[in-house]
Assembly symmetry: C2
């Protein structure tokens, strides 16, 4: 008998992978954490039974969330990653030799420990001496006034239910902005433009309110509902299309998805989203 695991969205759509075996299943104070070996996508991480990342499809998500801000920030010395417990985002950030220090603030220590044990190909930079991992609350972190500011702030959180719910409101985005130097960049995952369009639109509007403008970008993540995913980018004084050519060329030599054409193309906004934003509709 074949075993499958399906993530079901709205009791109406499901995406499933055939399961070879369960490698880990545990419960933290925040959520259940599981790692399963799938036939098609390699090892996959689930939080509260929702697909988070897999060995086969993780590159698009992690390269976009890291390199879109890291190739456009004016300086690139200090980076803050909130969430990102699987380690894929910091792995990409740390490919930039200009980066001197990365603070990663992940609320759930079990996610980090599990990823270190079972998802070593995704989190392959845990030993980089520039990386400081703090198990703690990202919402509290961006309220701190004792920190040196950052060039890039990346929010790599899960969906707006459970432990990540506080990562989706104006106060939090204002905190993120306050962490940035001038010429800095902010990015967050911002849900599916198809399956969770109202949340997606609301995030763009709220971030736009805080930063003055906000720019969604899009890419394929088969594991997530509808396979179409988004991130939203904002900044404190840069041009999002003015990619640093030295940083870009270095990344293009090793990336699976990101390159300068993809960078520009990802910012193209589907007409129905453009119209909804213009009309103020959800």
């Amino acid at each position: 008998m074949a075993l499958w695991y399906d993530e079901v969205t709205d009791d109406a759509v499901r995406f499933g992978l055939k399961v070879e075996r369960t490698l880990f299943m545990g419960r933290s104070e925040f959520q259940t954490v599981s790692v399963i070996e799938t036939s098609a996508f390699g090892r996959a991480l689930l939080l509260d039974d929702l697909w988070m990342t897999s060995e086969r499809d993780e590159a698009v998500y992690h390269e976009l969330i890291a390199h879109v801000p890291c190739t456009t920030a004016k300086r690139l010395e200090r980076v803050l990653v909130i969430g990102g417990g699987d380690g894929g985002t910091v792995r990409e950030v740390l490919k930039h030799p200009e980066v001197q220090h990365v603070d990663m603030v992940e609320i759930d220590g079990l996610v980090v420990e599990t990823s270190k044990l079972y998802l070593g190909t995704i989190g392959s930079a845990w030993d980089d001496p520039r990386l400081q991992v703090t198990i703690g609350d990202g919402i509290a972190w961006v309220k701190r006034t004792d920190l040196e500011k950052y060039d890039v702030v990346i929010v790599d959180g899960s969906d707006p239910v459970g432990p990540a719910v506080g990562l989706f409101n104006e106060a939090f985005y204002a905190g993120c902005k306050s962490m940035l130097r001038d010429g800095g960049c902010f990015i967050t995952q911002s849900e599916s433009p198809i399956m969770t369009k109202p949340v997606h639109l609301e995030m763009i509007r709220t971030i736009g309110k805080v930063f003055g403008e906000a720019h969604p970008l899009y890419g394929p993540v088969p594991l997530y509902p509808s396979g179409a995913w988004s991130w939203t980018y904002a900044h404190t004084g840069v041009d999002r299309f003015a990619v640093d050519v030295v940083r870009a060329a270095r990344i293009e030599a090793q990336s699976k998805y990101w390159n300068r054409d993809i960078h520009r193309g990802a910012f193209a906004v589907p007409n129905h989203i453009k119209q909804a934003l213009a009309e103020g509709a959800l």
Copy 2:
């Protein structure tokens, strides 16, 4: 008990929709044809139990396959559509008032009849007097020497198994090219860059051999394996980025997905595909 229908790929990945009811199920000499009412995606068409299109997600596919060639062809009077039995592609093509005549050549009359009965929101242009539907073989059609040439040739076929298998080889693409005037455009769906990467790469190479160059483009189609889909574009003497501004503005006023930014952005090629094409790897 809830009923679901899942399309399974490689016995390892599946995409499923909850089914409200089956509206039609029949068998032609070529394939089984079904229409089901789903909770999340409205009515959906399946051929040989594979998802083909749905009311909710069809716009991306049909707008890209129609407007990418129709906004870049030098003239836009005569269009040939091979396949496209659901009627979505010709509906988009016929939104261009410059179009004087469309030949649609669909091998399976049952697909057209079923779509007319059950998918009227997708095929909403069947009565346009500029449209000539022929139930016949597209492979034979492009061998004809008695036809006036076309400005745009669109291949809207299913996967390279079953009745569409002959739409994936050099002789067929050469036939399509022979149907084009100078300044004309060709486009075909070209499978998933993730789930069927070898077929995708082979199509780009073969079309490139026939036309001198071939350009893949990408967009999200949740219903198809991985949700990431591709088309491949070639031409007989145009610039794929030189969109006709009058045609484009007209379409942008009514499209759900396509606009000039999306047009340009869709042509951005993921790094792993770029590398594979450069290296000649599958």
